[in-house]
């Protein structure tokens, strides 16, 4: 995210650098709220809605981000205490079906004090909310245009949310992808583009020209596909 002019953000990050990740234009006042003094500066939020890490005076590297992601808890807000350890562990392990069964069982128990009941009901609500979000996610990614990325997302949802509506919906969409000729063509084209991009290192001058030529050739051959358009855009970045 950046508080610079929209045109500048789009030109630098989207067009010239070819950023694929979500980018946002924000107001200067929001940058100030976060006390940003150096660029780039990175914050990490945990799923429980709290700040997991704050920027320091080091340049954030891939290794730093990797460590942040490894250490962040995937569990929503939970009070401390051993009695909530199984729930925390199931969130951390993405064992959603196991968690679903556990919560159903524990909330059905007669001898549950008020505090625990409130906490577990909150966890049930959170699980239901996240499960519903996955259903919406299936619907969204299945519309394309990046069917290659969509396939990977659907496979992940099918595996992680097994036993939930989202996994069933993902299975149906994956079966549709496997039958639909246009989608199959799109996926094959994206696979080939990834292979081409891995073949050359754009940071080496000697390989940059070859990559550009390869991308232009690919864009022509795969015109009308998402990967073809992507290749054309990427080739345009090399002057």
């Amino acid at each position: 995210m950046s508080d610079e002019e929209e045109g500048k953000i789009e030109k630098t990050f989207i067009n010239d650098l070819g950023a694929k990740y979500p980018m946002a234009k924000i107001n200067k006042s929001d940058t100030q709220k976060y006390g940003i003094r150096f660029y780039p500066s990175i914050y990490c939020f945990a799923p429980d809605g709290t700040v997991h890490s704050v920027p320091d005076d080091r340049m954030p590297s891939e290794a730093v981000i990797k460590t942040l992601l490894q250490n962040v808890s995937l569990a929503p807000k939970l009070p401390d205490g051993a009695r909530y350890a199984p729930v925390r562990s199931m969130w951390e392990g993405k064992q959603y079906k196991k968690l679903d069964t556990y919560l159903t069982k524990i909330l059905g128990a007669d001898k549950l004090d008020d505090e625990m009941r409130t906490v577990f009901e909150g966890q049930r609500e959170e699980l239901d909310k996240r499960a519903a979000k996955q259903v919406a996610r299936v619907g969204k990614v299945s519309q394309g245009p990046d069917y290659f990325a969509a396939k990977a997302t659907l496979q992940k949802i099918q595996k992680e949310w097994l036993g939930f509506e989202a996994a069933g919906a993902a299975k149906i969409e994956l079966a549709r992808f496997a039958k639909d000729r246009t989608i199959k063509k799109e996926i094959a084209a994206s696979k080939s583009l990834n292979k081409l991009l891995r073949k050359y290192d754009p940071n080496k001058i000697s390989q940059r020209r070859k990559l550009k030529d390869g991308l232009l050739k690919f864009a022509k051959k795969n015109a009308g596909t998402y990967a073809g358009e992507d290749a054309a855009k990427q080739a345009a970045r090399f002057r």
């Binding site: 995210m1 979500p22 946002a24 660029y39 709290t50």
Partner: protein, 52 residues
Amino acid sequence: MAALAFAGGTLAAQQKGSEPPAIEFVKVWNDGPSSFEELEGKVVILDFGATW
């Protein structure tokens, strides 16, 4: 270790464990979230960038 934590604390306006203030997304690219609330329940890396 204590020095590092202290350095981080002095640079950042937000603290570890606190609830971050909402950010208004004026415009988003690459299928980004339409609102700050959409980030709820997710691990989020916020990268404040600038061109120079």
